[in-house]
Amino acid sequence: MKQLITFIKKEFHHILRDTRSMLVLIGLPIVQLLIFGFAITTEVRNANIAVLDNSKDEVTQGIITKIESSQYFDIDRSITSNDQIEKAFKSGKIKLAVIFQPNFQNELSHSNKAQLQIIADATDPNQATTLTNYLSSIVRDYQNELNRQNKLPYTINTETRMLYNPQLKGAYTSVPGVMGMILLLISAMMTSIAIVREKELGTMEILLVSPMKPWLVVISKVIPYFIISLINVATILILSVFVLGLPIEGSLFLLIASTVIYIFCALSLGILISTVTETQQAAMLISLLGLMLPVVMLSGYAFPIANMPTILQILSNLVPAKWYIIIIKNVMIKGIGIEQIWKELLILLAMTGTFLIISIKRFKIRL
């Protein structure tokens, strides 16, 4: 036990004394996440929209004035028909259109209900979601104001339609994607480099000759990166909830438990890489080309898997991050429980087991 603790302490010395690896380990996740967060929040100011008011009454005018006074939207007054709206979307002139039903105020006062349609250009799903959310909340605000004066509550139904990408695939992928990538980077790449460094320095030779069991050496290499990965998970989640405003819909426990399984998977992959490489450079290359690229290209993080050629779709099944991103999207964004994701969890566990078995087979008690 004392061997283990001393060893882990030593690993932390290595990490803490190397500013570069510290930056990669702690700084990169934050930067990555904030870049995505920044991209989400900047582009919604002064978005061009069209308003088609088929009612032209007091209430619709009130809502339009509210929309106009917000800093998020600029209303293009030249658009006055459905045809024009369609053209404007196609030419990219507008990002969003609001359509009031005819007799809006009448409906509202007679049946207490009225229809409002929001159409958004979802080719950029993140932006489309943000814009519709803003618009819905403006309408909701107005509805609340109305209700303060009325005894019977009015309901303004907003019907949202996403053009071009109706299921909003790719939306909210940045946080799960960043998690899938960062955890793999830290766990797999940094662990493999840390183990291979001992080989390169020649210290592995002494460690092998010592009474310290080789698997203990590996465990002590892995634990510090496991801890750092957990810290990163916490940072990413806190940032995504409080800075990016992405709520955790499902169970936090399930989210963390599946993340731990994913970290194990990545760590075992790191160990596997360390058993097949002799130099830090080789370990880094394999990690980058063999892990990072597939995560970015094949996990569904940057490009929807459904749009890939069949061969790549099949290959994407081999990428652990794909399964992890599915799990996280389901738990975090859709709030789904274990009954829907146990298959993906099992796949991750099976992968971890396979990597570990190959590593144990390949791990040399000799040079």
Binding site: K2, Q3, T6, F7, K10, H13, H14, R17, D18, L201, G202, T203, E205, I206, L207, L208, V209, S210, P211, M212, I365, R366, L367
Partner: protein, 304 residues
């Protein structure tokens, strides 16, 4: 019981194009408490022999025992009783002197305090720098730290692979003095070196070249086996002297040896006056018959 026994060990490495025999049918033994030296240049197979004996490398053929334990079957027991200092001083460059020693003590299940007396002698010289990172130490200091780390668990046998390579003469001298004191405490030591002058400091030596052992004996006997007349020759112009001596019809070999050239003649009773008259153009000429040293013998064996 012998501390080390090596029987007909062979080790080859294969690359895409060719196979290199690093260790070629090597046998030798080291008695308990002996300071045994493997003397040979880089690439002669010394490191492979060390790795086979420290159980981190498997031989292709042959057997080897350390303290009567087989290097293949009983490798875990061997790893508990040996101290090993690999060719490059394998220290953690970003840990301090003290942290390095502490670390190695712990992984060998001991503490610095427990065996302090064994390393005290060496470690005292390092203590003023104990908070300095190992990467910032000079070669001599690194060497001392690496030795302390290899000694900290009080091993029965010490394996030192080229501990003095790249280290200045002062540190080398100090290092051999330390080895003598360790030997006095009953530790068996196997050491390798490319410096021939260090051979005399060992109890017994094996001369090794391209994976083959040329000769094993105590240094004195090895020197005695040099069976030719050897002369140290010196003159004002050493470069011309070397060329002239090599051109001399009765010269077997002539090499520069510090301030003299060592000349071996191919006759049993050479005529010195003939040589002197051959070299009459040289001023300040000095010719003396001398006793050979290990390097002379090594070179003689290499040429065979």
């Amino acid at each position: 019981m012998n501390a080390i026994e090596v029987n007909n060990i062979t080790k080859t490495y294969s690359t895409k194009k060719n196979t290199i025999t690093a260790v070629d049918d090597v046998s030798f033994s080291v008695s308990e408490g002996e300071l045994f030296g493997l003397i040979g240049p880089d690439g002669s197979g010394k490191t492979s022999i060390f790795r086979i004996l420290t159980t981190v490398l498997l031989a292709d053929k042959g057997t080897a025992k350390v303290m009567n334990l087989d290097v293949v079957k009983n490798y875990t027991s061997i790893r508990n009783i040996i101290g090993y200092m690999p060719g490059r001083f394998s220290l953690y460059q970003d840990l301090t002197v003290e942290e390095n020693l502490n670390f190695f003590a712990t992984i060998f299940n001991t503490t610095i305090q427990e065996n302090y007396d064994l390393v005290a002698d060496i470690y005292k010289q390092l203590e003023p720098f104990k908070t300095r990172r190992a990467g910032k130490l000079s070669g001599g200091m690194k060497q001392k730290l690496a030795l302390s780390c290899a000694l900290i668990h009080k091993p029965k046998i010490l394996f030192l692979d080229e501990p003095t390579t790249g280290v200045d003469p002062v540190s080398r001298k100090e290092f051999w003095e330390m080895l003598k004191r360790l030997k006095a405490q009953g530790i068996s030591i196997l050491v390798s070196t490319p410096y021939m002058d260090e051979a005399n400091l060992c109890d017994r030596i094996a001369l090794i070249q391209t994976g083959k052992i040329l000769e094993i004996d105590i240094p004195q006997n090895i020197v005695n086996r040099f069976d030719k007349n050897l002369y140290a020759v010196k003159s004002k112009s050493m470069f011309n002297l070397l060329n002239d001596l090599r051109a001399y019809s009765k010269t077997e070999s002539c090499f520069a040896f510090g301030q003299y050239h060592h000349l071996v003649l191919n006759e049993e009773h050479p005529d010195m006056n003939e040589l002197k008259s051959y070299l009459k153009d040289h001023t300040e000429l000095e010719i003396t018959q001398i006793k050979p040293n290990i390097e002379d013998r090594f070179m003689q064996l290499m040429r065979k």
